[in-house]
């Protein structure tokens, strides 16, 4: 394997946001294809990060930095690939529902999804159902992610899903939900497509949802 590709893999693992662009440039100059750089460099690195996180050899700040590094690399490769989906797995619109201001969990899920190759549009928190439906119209995402941390705002998830259906957008998107008081049963009850109990599972779920589509 090319030494530069190995350096790119290490760059992702080490979260070298500054260095990754140069490395990719170097790889392109060496004649490597964008697809190769992505598959055998960036993604190899990110997979390793995922493995190390699971066995507590890496921690959240390191994982997030790796995800940002991966994302910076993807941005550079995006115009160069023939099949755009190889670089950008899909688009996710994510936010915390109306009445709820807890956003750290949602931020983590968003960043993890970025690391998994998604384009993520973070709408913020305390979002009305209309904000979600408008964002779907504007960004045409594959997935909508909703977060709620309060039993009292979980109902806003139901309201938002209803608004999405009423706006005729339900068929266009997959919906995933999460947040500490949410569970799989609740997700099924309101008609969401999936539930993730943490950010890592959330990113895995997002991949499954686009692959199934």
């Amino acid at each position: 394997m090319s030494q530069t590709l190995e350096q790119i893999t290490t760059g992702v693992i080490e979260g070298n946001i500054q260095g990754i662009r140069q490395l990719i440039q170097k790889a392109l100059e060496e004649g490597l294809k964008a697809e190769e750089i992505l598959q055998n460099g960036l993604i190899v690195g990110m997979n390793e990060v995922g493995k190390r996180f699971k066995v507590a050899q890496m921690f959240i700040p390191e994982v997030l930095r790796a995800a940002k590094t991966m994302h910076a690399g993807q941005e550079l490769l995006h115009p160069l690939v023939t099949d755009a989906r190889a670089v950008r797995v899909g688009t996710i619109v994510i936010g915390t529902v109306q009445g709820d201001m807890h956003d750290i969990g949602k931020n983590l899920v968003g960043m993890m999804c970025e690391g998994a190759g998604f384009e993520v549009i973070d709408l913020g928190f305390d979002l009305s159902p209309e904000t979600f439906t408008e964002a779907i119209k504007v960004h045409q995402p594959d997935i909508v992610g909703m977060s709620a941390l309060l039993t009292t705002t979980m109902r806003s998830m139901g309201h938002t899903l209803k608004a999405i259906t009423e706006a005729g957008l339900r068929e266009k998107v997959k919906v995933m939900v999460g947040g500490a008081p949410v569970d799989a049963e609740f997700a099924a009850r309101i008609g969401a497509d999936g539930y993730g109990h943490n950010a890592v599972v959330g990113a895995e779920l997002a991949r499954k949802l686009v692959e199934a589509a």
Binding site: I60, P61, I104, T151, T152, R155, A180, P181, A199
Partner: protein, 487 residues
């Protein structure tokens, strides 16, 4: 005659030196004056601007002289009164006094009969208040849950209405906004004998939470304004995650959260100078592997001790945290994390230590944990009371009197002191093996469960006045109508 002789009335413990406290305080003033905080409440921004704050869009910068004026008017010592006039249940806030109580609003509760985790229901508020009323080392009451079987918007009002008649220990109330704050206040002032009587003898405290980093949300600010206008002692406390919503370093998170609390302080003191105010809050770490806010981390206790010292340095009482755990059940982890944090909290002398009974990172309330911690608090309090040094306690004469080969078993000196010098646990077992075996080899866990059930079967809290009972029914009926007619 003695000169320059110092007495330690309790065990001393310090995190910071005065110089370090000065640096932290300056950090807080810098954040307030130079960085500022976003205040999502127009009326509050106007009040602050009129008092001399710099307001630019939502950003509010508080000049140092305004902070210092607020610190000068907010009291360090005051009393929160038991609703029935029982002085044993009054809470006297002041230097060297640590008080303990449960915490607010987890979604789940450990059922006292089945011992399973399930959603919190209204009857659990009765259970918690009754047990709190009976426990000797628990001083104030919170519900340990969010009631799930009443109209959502009335969860806080029903909670107060259910707990108030079941305990005479002061309640720390929370609410969603102005309307339910008012429901709660009406109940409390009816019992006190009207607003004026309440102002002389406040019988509950109100709790509000701003958002980290550096945001005073509409709801939190609105509730502070309500409390200030109605003379309700108020807590304005953040819940920050080091490395998530606040700096990863303890000194940094202490500065940020204190600045966040001080926005509430300044606002409350402008509206009602002298209003009892508690600065906050819950300072802990985001576990970078499990992705939770840890309620069992040593950093929680350490950072809470640090923020307590800063509050006391500024002349304010503090809303402490302890007796909590990340464990999912009543086990050794729950006992270890809960007891150590209770002890640390007692040492720091933080004024109201809450969350005694929080489990699973604040997701599940457990009154069993509170009952177990009651013993840990008693234990801690015996230590923090310290060692008295007087000619009598030095006991040199007694040692001479008994001499070699003697014994102290029923000596006058022993008789005089053994009941107050020694602390006796309610739950920890000290019997010898044979006695313990004869009693069925009971574990701590089993004794905790038995004691909780026994309190519930036997304890009768002193009732509210008949007019208060009637007022509660009327206020809750009106509240039901209000939410029914809400669009």
């Amino acid at each position: 005659m003695r000169t320059n002789y110092r007495v330690n009335a309790g065990v001393r413990f310090e995190v910071f030196s005065r110089d370090q406290l000065e640096e932290l305080f300056n950090g807080v003033l810098h954040v307030m004056d130079k960085i500022g905080l976003d205040v999502h409440h127009e009326e509050a921004r106007n009040i602050l601007a009129d008092a001399g704050a710099h307001v630019e869009d939502k950003r509010v910068r508080i000049p140092t002289h305004l902070v210092k004026r607020a610190l000068a008017t907010a009291p360090r010592s005051f009393t929160i009164y038991a609703r029935d006039g029982n002085p044993a249940h009054d809470i006297q806030i002041g230097p060297g006094r640590a008080h303990f109580g449960p915490g607010p609003t987890p979604p789940n509760f450990i059922d006292v009969e089945t011992l399973e985790r399930r959603p919190y229901v209204r009857d659990d508020a009765r259970i918690v208040a009754t047990v709190v009323d009976a426990l000797p080392n628990i001083d104030f009451c919170e519900s340990l849950g969010t009631i799930s079987d009443v109209p959502t918007d009335l969860a806080a009002a029903y909670e107060f209405a259910t707990m108030f008649p079941r305990t005479t220990k002061p309640i720390v109330a929370w609410s969603f906004g102005w309307d339910d704050s008012n429901d709660i206040h009406q109940i409390a002032i009816t019992e006190a004998g009207g607003q004026e009587a309440f102002e002389r003898r406040p019988n509950y405290i109100h709790y509000c939470e701003p958002l980290s980093p550096l945001v005073s949300t509409f709801e939190a600010v609105d509730k502070v304004i309500f409390a200030a206008r109605h003379a309700v002692p108020v807590i304005f406390t953040t819940c920050a995650l080091a490395g998530g919503t606040a700096p990863v370093t303890p000194a940094g998170i202490i500065i940020q959260t204190t600045a966040e609390s001080f926005m509430g302080l300044v606002l409350s003191q402008i509206i009602r100078p002298g209003l009892p105010f508690f600065t906050g809050g819950v300072l802990s770490v985001m576990d970078m592997s499990a992705m939770i806010l840890s309620y069992g981390a040593p950093e929680l206790s350490l950072m809470m001790a640090g923020v307590t010292e800063l509050a006391h340095y500024c002349g304010l009482p503090l809303w402490q945290t302890g007796g909590c755990t990340d464990s999912k059940c009543l086990d050794e982890q729950a006992s270890l994390e809960g007891s150590l944090s209770v002890f640390f909290s007692a040492l720091s002398g933080g004024d109201l230590c809450h969350d005694v009974g929080y489990t699973e990172s604040g997701m599940t309330g457990s009154i069993l944990q509170t009952v177990m911690m009651d013993d840990a608090i008693g234990y801690s309090r015996r230590i923090t009371r310290g060692i008295e040094v007087t000619p009598d306690t030095l006991a040199v004469d007694v040692i001479r009197d008994v001499g070699p080969d003697g014994h102290y078993l029923y000596h006058d000196h022993t008789m005089q002191h053994f009941k107050t010098e020694f602390w006796y646990p309610n739950l920890c077992d000290r019997h010898n093996y044979e006695e313990w075996a004869a009693e069925g080899k009971q574990t701590m866990r089993a004794r905790v469960i038995d004691r909780t059930r026994e309190i519930l079967a036997t304890h009768n809290p002193s009732p509210v006045r008949p007019e208060t009972a009637e007022a509660i029914t009327a206020i809750m009926a009106a509240a039901e109508n209000r939410v029914k007619n809400k669009p």
